[in-house]
């Protein structure tokens, strides 16, 4: 497609050493990569693949512990490996610019937006103040930010994540660079915001004929914007080619594994979920309400309270998996915490297996608590680093008065069930990988023999291949133990794959509810429709499933 002409960026045999004592010798090794003007090249890979290191190496922005030991980076024909710092500085922001994963962290909290945009202009050009100001305003307007005049005097904390990333893009493009390097620029954003930012990047790229190097872990995003794709693993390139070819006809097993691990969104839409009709409810909530006090402003004034849950009803039928989807701030996590009795409700009733649950206290609560268990998002935060696996899983059993010896047997059996060697009981969490930890967390919940399992973004922090394994484990356990599952996620693809029914939440309310197949195939609510439209790689996933 872009075979002809000199590439804007040509990387050859790039090798970056890790500090001594790391788990491997090189962060990346033997990387070959071209990016031409007018094309978007995606580097895709899982944690530890070296994709970010590659991107950071281009402009010499690696942390001091990482050293480029070999290879060449030709940018607009100029060798950057070993180039003096002053020369690199001259190129950064002017000929090649970069945007980052966490826009909120990438902006200086104590300087105004206008100042931070102007800074890049002043760093490279000496222009009269009025001209700088004009360019700042024009730059902010170009990334479709409202009211650029007021925005210039504003500080970053007043902006939403999407607006902050727009500011970062305005900064990056202020001097019309030949190349944009984007390091997971949409990973921290909600799905609808992600879609907007991806569209913005594609638009600006097309208008200016820029070269874009785009790092992501999400094949859906790749499908949305990539012209060509480079798949990385363990610091090496596995395979590269046009997006079309890689996504539809991968040659390497690893690439195929990555693609297969992407949740089959379209599968669910064709095979409509079938909840057991009229089954008895495992859990039911009525009129659930939770207000969060507004943040205090000064001494006596508060912002108006925010309704995290606004009159929510839900019914989880025995044996089904009910998905709760929504963006950040929709109230889905508050719902999970209230059902789990981690956060008190302001109003409403919850019943578990037909018995009241939300009003129990003390010993009565302890007697019922095991019926509802939870798996948390962060596999690193959810296991106490100072406790052995046996204590982590056993605490709940001990509290219920199960004798130690019997508890040990049950822990061992449950560990085996979730695919962890029972000998692991004597070890500490840090000895396990993220996926293994999540299995331990699942074992902790299931050993209590709950009736309801609440999975709060339980696979969101995992790499896509691990995510697929954990999802399979959850589905298997649900069937084996006759569990009912409440599956909370921001990722509609995951929900589509595992849930029988879904609730769509927005601003503390349920905006749509129904069988998964129906909701995804024929959404009735406009917000649901927007969410589904924003799923990255929707066309590709749909086509792949159909093929």
């Amino acid at each position: 497609m872009n075979g002809g002409g000199t590439p804007v960026l040509a990387i050859r045999d790039l090798t970056v050493a890790l500090p001594a004592g790391a788990d491997r010798a090189h962060a990346v090794e033997g990387i070959d990569l071209d990016v031409h003007a007018g094309e978007i090249v995606c580097i895709v890979g899982e944690t530890g693949s070296g994709k970010s290191v590659t991107a950071h190496a281009v402009l010499g922005l690696l942390p001091p512990t990482l050293r480029t030991v070999r290879g060449s980076i030709l940018f607009e024909g100029e060798e950057l490996v070993g180039a003096p710092e002053a020369r690199l500085r001259g190129l950064r922001g002017r000929r090649a610019a970069m945007i980052f994963q966490e826009p909120s962290a990438a902006l200086n909290p104590v300087r105004t937006i206008g100042d931070q945009v102007a800074e890049v202009i002043r760093a490279h050009l000496s222009l009269p103040a009025a001209e700088v100001e004009r360019r700042v305003a024009a730059g902010l307007a170009e990334v479709s930010l409202p009211d650029p005049e007021a925005l210039r005097r504003s500080y970053p904390f007043r902006l939403s994540g999407g607006q902050q990333q727009r500011v970062m893009i305005a900064i990056a493009l202020a001097l019309e660079p030949a190349m944009l390097i984007a390091d997971e620029p949409t990973t921290a954003l909600d799905v609808t915001t992600q879609a907007q930012i991806l569209r913005l990047i594609a638009e600006l790229q097309a208008r200016r004929g820029m070269a874009v190097l785009f790092v992501t872990h999400d094949l859906g995003v790749v499908a949305e914007i990539a012209d060509r794709v480079v798949v990385m693993r363990h610091g090496r390139i596995v395979e590269s080619g046009t997006a079309e070819r890689i996504l539809r006809a991968p040659r390497q097993d690893y690439t195929r594994l990555l693609i297969d691990a992407v949740p089959r969104f379209a599968a669910a839409t064709s095979a409509a979920g079938t909840p057991p009709p009229g089954g008895e409810p495992a859990m039911a909530g009525r009129g659930l309400r939770k207000l969060y006090q507004g943040r205090s402003v000064g001494l006596f004034r508060r912002r108006p309270p925010v309704a995290a849950l606004d009159d929510v009803d839900l019914r989880l039928t025995r044996g089904e998996t009910l998905g709760v989807v929504g963006e950040s701030g929709s109230g889905k996590s508050t719902l999970a915490r209230c059902l789990m009795r981690l956060t008190p409700l302001d109003a409403g009733e919850v019943e578990v297996a037909g018995r009241p649950f939300s009003r129990l206290e003390g010993a009565a609560l302890l007697a019922e608590r095991h019926r509802v268990q939870m798996v948390f998002q962060d596999p690193y935060g959810s296991l106490n680093p100072r406790q052995r696996v046996e204590t982590i899983i056993g605490t709940g059993l001990w509290l219920r008065g199960v004798p130690r010896a019997e508890a040990r047997e049950r822990i061992a059996a449950m560990l085996a069930e979730v695919g962890i060697d029972p000998a692991a009981m004597a070890r500490y969490p840090h000895e396990f990988s993220g996926g293994q930890r999540q299995r331990i967390a699942i074992a902790r919940a299931l050993v209590m023999e709950p009736e309801v399992l609440i999975a709060d973004e339980a696979v969101s922090a995992l790499d896509v291949s691990v995510q697929a394994q954990v999802l399979r484990l959850l589905a298997r356990m649900r069937a084996r133990l006759d569990l009912s599952m409440l599956f909370i996620t921001h990722d509609l693809r995951v929900a589509a794959q595992i849930c029988d029914r879904v609730l769509v939440m927005k601003d503390g309310r349920i905006v749509e509810e129904g069988p998964t197949g129906r909701v995804f195939a024929a959404p009735r609510d406009s917000y649901t429709r927007r969410l589904i439209d924003a799923i990255p790689g929707r066309a590709w996933l749909g086509a792949a499933a159909g093929a």
């Binding site: 890790l18 500090p19 004592g21 790391a22 962060a27 890979g45 944690t47 530890g48 693949s49 070296g50 994709k51 970010s52 290191v53 590659t54 991107a55 942390p63 512990t65 990482l66 790092v215 990385m232 915490r337 789990m340 009795r341 981690l342 609560l365 302890l366 608590r369 095991h370 509802v372 268990q373 939870m374 948390f376 998002q377 962060d378 935060g381 959810s382 296991l383 106490n384 680093p385 100072r386 406790q387 982590i392 605490t395 709940g396 509290l399 219920r400 967390a441 902790r444 209590m448």
Partner: protein, 281 residues
């Protein structure tokens, strides 16, 4: 503490030097009285004997007391008072900080205002008042130092507990039915102790400094020979016999330095920020 931990600590150069120095001081302080059981207050010879000249290795002071004996007894009480007042301070600070951080709400509000009060007031002036009110004794000094130094512990403890209590493993324990106090003791405290240990080590050093200041002002226990007292007592003879002031001061500096070096090494030994994140890709 395991031997592995002590080895890790000693592998930092500063920590090793500090540990070695402190070990020598403690050993001498413990065993010297076996060799010379006489009270450091007893007059043993002619006053103002310079060091390294006569029977007394470090000479005698203005009243003819053995300077070395005073120094050794000073070491005993400086370290003892440092340790005891740190224990007092830890006792108050850990409890207040943990309770405030875990229960939040009005409990936190009340406890933090009290903490703020103790942090804000000029500590030495309060200790002076306490000593005047309770009488000059080792215990009023220990309590006084404990009472003015605990806010720091409480704040650190509270910050740790505040951040730990939002961690998912605490939610998980609540979901299993563990009670608040058990969660605080079993889930949170073991994770919050590293920074407190570091602070405690440095607090022993500050306590020694505060005690020396009090003794220098003549507000220490009148029956106990301390370094600060020695400096204060020799002060009028600064011109004639400056070593009498200088030597105990050097001991304070070296001891406090050693403890701080241990504290610094503890910081790195307890949270090895190994491989500074490296890559995230």
């Amino acid at each position: 503490m395991s031997t592995g931990f002590i080895r890790r600590l000693a592998s930092h150069r500063g920590g090793a030097i500090g540990l070695a120095f402190l070990a020598v001081v403690v050993a001498v302080a413990l065993f010297y009285p076996l060799y010379n059981p006489r009270s450091p207050w007893s007059i043993v010879g002619r006053p103002f004997q310079p060091p390294f000249t006569g029977r007394f290795m470090l000479g005698t002071d203005m009243l003819g007391r053995d300077v070395l004996a005073g120094l050794v007894h000073g070491a005993r009480f400086s370290l003892l008072i440092g340790l005891l007042s740190t224990l007092v301070s830890l006792g108050i600070g850990v409890t207040v900080g943990a309770v405030a951080g875990y229960f939040r709400g009005w409990v936190d509000e009340v406890l933090m205002r009290i903490t703020e009060f103790f942090q804000i007031i000029p500590g030495l002036v309060l200790i002076m008042l306490l000593v005047v009110v309770m009488g000059t004794s080792m215990w009023s000094v220990v309590i006084g130092i404990g009472v003015v130094t605990w806010p720091n512990v409480a704040r650190i403890m509270r910050a740790e507990v505040l951040s730990l209590r939002t961690r998912a493993f605490v939610d998980a324990a609540r979901g299993l039915g563990q009670r608040p106090l058990a969660i605080l003791v079993r889930q949170i405290l073991p994770n919050a102790l590293s920074p407190v240990i570091v602070v405690a080590s440095v607090m022993v050093a500050s306590a020694i400094l505060i005690e020396s200041g009090l003794s220098f002002l003549g507000l220490g226990d009148p029956n106990v020979m301390t370094w600060g007292y020695m400096i204060g007592a020799a002060r009028p003879y600064l011109r004639e016999a400056w070593l009498l002031s200088a030597i105990p001061g050097v001991m304070i500096v070296l001891t406090v330095l050693a403890i701080n070096m241990i504290g610094d090494s503890l910081t790195t030994a307890l949270n090895p920020r190994h491989s500074r994140k490296g890559e995230r890709a």
